[in-house]
Amino acid sequence: MNIFQLVWVNSFRKKTRFSLTCISVMIAFFLFSILAGINHALTSNVSSNNQLRLLTSHKISLARSLPINYQQKIAVIAGVESVSYASWFGGFFKDETNQLAVLAVDHNSYFEMFDEYYISKLQLEQWKKTRTGLVVGQAIANKYDWKVGDRVPLNSSIWMNREGSFTWPFTVAAIYQSADGASGEKQIFFQHSYFDKARAYARNTVSWLTPKVTEQADVDEVSQRIDKLFVNSNGATRTTTEQVFIKERVQQFVDMAMVIKLVVIAVFFTLLLIVCNTMVQSNRERLNESAMMKALGFSSLFLIAQVYLESFFILALGALFGCMFALLCLVWLSQLFANFLPGIAIDNSHYLSVALLVLTAATLCSLLPALTLNRLTISKTLGAKA
């Protein structure tokens, strides 16, 4: 017999109430963990360690193109080391459900600038020589079982080619790996020169440019110089660091995640009240026993510790099962939405948040019973009157 055995037997005193409360907690933590998993997918791969890369897009919208000759104009600005560019292809393979992140890029400069993609020199050279060549991420290649030399037709939901078709013929010329593992190997690249000549409209334009500044340059100053250069033209630009750009693009998703988060917080607080109510009710039912224990010499602190451990037990058990089910569910979701929303997973820091939440909730749930136990008058509670 010890305090933990006491907590154990007291927890299972009302099995139905215990189970229902546990299930409520489990649902709360299940939702919380699922959200964390989706949030991880929305915010992963948005960080960039490269502080020197800028991104220049049309001032009004990313959907508007910029003239391709901006590359030369930006390249001569003081503080700019090199300039590359890319255009969004909006591709899918066979079926629209197989969405792919396909970019047409400047084959001469892009992979020199984006050195986080690991491609063998041989394959890179081969790709540069192959007009319709694709550079495919290892994860994508594995998924569709593509090998170098395979002919792969990709469809675009935006771009029609000169033949009047939205299906573009390609050949896999290179496969790249990423330091981020599978989550960083889900893009496909092809030559912008092929794209520009083969597309039916908007030739000599790019979606955005990526100037790289020298290490000595002031990033803000260079950005201002670039934008100033095109301020009075039809193609006015907005230049930011790559990090800011990515964060802005993701912002709309993050806001959505924030809304879901708020909903989950509301659910969580409702469930907190349920657990609080359970603990208050359970404590009230046992006031006589608590008074008896006090009479035997147990301190208020011991009784409060007992209530705290009971709250903790219910919450920890619910959280454990909630996280376990969420983990299983997220594995399934990550497979189901591998194309639309890659990176669904639970981050290790989430478990720390869960632990902190359990500890905080257990403390909050024990407050009212603790007050009652502290004020408990033994003689009155045991019905001993004068």
Partner: protein, 242 residues
């Protein structure tokens, strides 16, 4: 009385005043009350309801504090102790037996008896041994694994007595221990208390309405008469002094 005075005093209530507020009225339960109980005595406190018998028991056990006056147990004044110290003192010195035994329904007889030992330095094995011994003393060793709901009223009270004596307290306070029991079972419980008093030297204070129960005690205090006599003595003392 002379015999009692020669013995060491176990419990001493000096000039106890106890009152409480009931709505807008102040109810005085004890007014300048004095009582002395010697070590090894088995005292039965009797009298009509409302005279403050249970209040006295609570004051002796440190479950309640007097409005004024001193409660001295084994030469230690307990009414000035902090709540924490009072809890520790109770655990070491007092065993309680109540009319409603207040056993924890989720624990077996063994578990209930072991409960007060959680406050001692005994290890798990020692606690089990002590609890088994206490249960053997009250004749309940064979029912050690039973839950309270599986025991009769008398058996539950025996377990409560085992719980009261398991930490070897000097004083056992019983509040109507036979109130809910039939005659035969009540006699068994009272015999058990007498054994604890005679053979183990426990000082027992028992509140009871049962005249038969009082026959087991070494001293019976009829509280109504005791209070009346005390006041007469006080008045006489005042008159003599003046």
């Amino acid at each position: 009385m002379q015999n009692n005075n020669q013995k060491k005093v176990a419990i001493e209530l000096i000039n106890i005043n106890k009152s409480y507020q009931k709505g807008s009225n102040k109810v005085v339960v004890h007014d300048n009350f004095n009582l002395s109980i010697a070590k090894g005595e088995f005292v039965a406190l009797m009298g009509p309801s409302g005279l403050g018998k249970s209040t006295l028991l609570n004051l002796i056990g440190g479950l309640d504090l007097p409005t004024s006056g001193s409660v001295i147990i084994d030469n230690q004044r307990i009414d000035t102790l902090s709540e924490g110290k009072l809890s520790t003192w109770r655990a070491e010195n007092i065993g309680f037996v109540f009319q409603s035994h207040h056993l924890l329904p989720v624990l077996t007889a063994q578990g209930n008896v072991e409960l007060p030992l959680l406050l001692t330095a005994l290890n798990s094995k020692q606690r089990k041994q002590h609890a088994s011994l206490a249960l053997r003393l009250v004749g309940m060793e064979e029912r050690a694994k039973h839950l309270p709901k599986e025991l009769s009223g008398g058996q539950e009270q025996r377990v409560a007595i085992a719980r009261a004596i398991v930490s070897d307290p000097k004083i056992i306070l019983c509040d109507e221990p036979t109130g809910n029991l039939d005659r035969k079972t009540a006699d068994e419980i009272l015999t058990l208390l007498t054994t604890l008093n005679k053979y183990f030297g426990k000082t027992i204070v028992m509140v009871t309405h049962d005249l038969r129960a009082s026959e087991y005690a070494s001293r019976v205090i009829n509280l109504e008469k005791y209070i009346h006599d005390s006041k007469q003595n006080q008045l006489s003392a005042v008159e003599v002094n003046s």
